[in-house]
């Protein structure tokens, strides 16, 4: 009857809906020996600024560097030590300290170029720590 009709109309009205679309990307890892190449996990500094990444893999396995090119002249073998130092800044890097010992434009790319190679930022850090992709996308 008409009541039914009205309810039906209502029912159909209430049916509206939209679907969600999301995408993710996979990751693969080749063999990596920590004893030969140093720790596998990237080291992330958040001081003085968020967030700089250092990967042993890039330097030892891919770059062919020995441990003693960095340890223990430039860096301690302990994550987080350097960032406690007052002079862990770009200025020091430019003057040949820390990463700047090599990242001077001759041994490796200069510290005043390609900022985002080292600086993965808050977003990059979030991605490294929390599985993948999107950091924030809310209201």
């Amino acid at each position: 009857m008409k009541k039914l009709l009205m309810l039906m109309v209502l029912g159909v009205f209430l049916l509206t809906g939209a679907l969600l679309w999301a995408s993710g990307d996979g990751q693969e890892q080749e063999e990596y020996d920590e004893d030969t190449y140093g720790p596998k996990d990237p080291i992330i500094w958040v001081k003085p600024v968020k967030s700089v990444v250092f990967e042993h893999k890039v330097h030892t396995m891919q770059g062919g560097l020995e441990c003693d090119s960095c340890h223990d002249d430039l860096f301690e073998m302990e994550a987080g030590v350097a960032e406690e130092n007052e002079d862990f800044t770009m200025k020091t890097l430019y003057e040949g300290g820390y990463c700047g010992a090599c990242h001077d434009g001759s041994t490796a790319f200069a510290s005043n170029t390609r900022c985002t190679a080292c600086h993965i930022g808050a977003r990059g850090q979030a991605r490294l720590l929390g599985a993948d992709g999107a950091t924030e996308k809310t209201h």
Partner: protein, 253 residues
């Protein structure tokens, strides 16, 4: 045109573009719209736009700025390291709630083949457009361009919360701030700082990498003006095709 396409022009000297990028960039219909200011500024805009709003590209000519001071911001994009100090400073200075932002950093990743990416961080904020779509659509003039400074400001007590300005903004620069029952947006810290005599926005002050440069575009001696009008500098803006004529410029030098 999408931001996507704009990104392809990020490099200031064209020689550093890979050949693939260069080809892409021509394919998607951009043209070098000509030398500008005696051959000093290359402005790259879509072909269509070149004949539109500003004949000589995205940067208005010196002496043709509608306001004085004509506040604007220049973002030296490739220096941005996404440390987000600007965001934090903005949040603190302007009481931005956790669900909103007045300025944020977007991230773009170009594949360089294999596992490698090149990352570009793009700071975004209100563009304080010369022809602001948000201002045009507001039914109660709760938002307008300040007559003196060109800053797009909000009057919370007039906002009815219809959110048309949010829909109209090409830059996603507006959000509704429930606490204040109003749409909220970047005002170059007009209310929190400029009007109190502090002449830089909080984000500019907080940036450790000197990415954000703020100032009066109409003053030829100002740093923004010099950056934007300096020889060989490529200057671009986001979404020029909307005709909003933004006042936030991007460069890479």
């Amino acid at each position: 045109m999408k931001i996507d396409d704009l990104e392809k022009m990020e490099s200031e000297d064209v020689s550093s573009l890979s050949s693939v990028e260069r080809r892409n960039f021509l394919k998607i219909g951009f043209a070098v719209t000509g030398m500008y200011l005696g051959g000093s500024v290359l402005s790259l805009v879509s072909v269509k736009n070149a004949h539109g709003a500003s004949a000589s590209g995205v940067v208005p000519e010196l002496g043709k700025y509608p306001y004085n001071p004509h506040y604007s911001m220049v973002l030296r994009e490739k220096l941005c390291i996404d440390c987000e100090r600007c965001k934090d400073a903005c949040v603190k200075t302007n009481n931005v709630p956790s669900y909103g932002f007045r300025t944020t950093i977007l991230e773009k990743r170009h594949s360089l083949g294999e596992d490698k990416y090149e990352t570009i961080f793009v700071p975004v904020l209100c563009n304080h457009c010369n022809r602001p779509p948000c201002v045009r659509v507001c039914p109660t003039t709760a938002t307008w361009k300040d007559e003196k400074t060109g800053i797009v400001v909000m009057e919370p007590s007039r906002c009815i919360g219809c959110k048309t300005c949010m829909a109209a903004c090409p830059y996603n620069a507006r959000y509704f701030k429930e606490e204040a029952r109003t749409v909220d947006k970047c005002d170059f810290c007009f209310q929190s700082r400029l009007s109190k005599g502090v002449m830089t926005p909080a984000c500019v002050e907080a940036c450790p990498a000197d990415v954000r440069v703020f100032g009066n575009l109409a003053d030829p001696a100002s740093r923004v003006s010099q950056l934007v009008h300096s020889p060989e500098t490529m200057v671009w803006v986001l979404r020029p095709e909307t005709g909003a004529i933004p006042n936030v410029f991007y460069i890479n030098s």
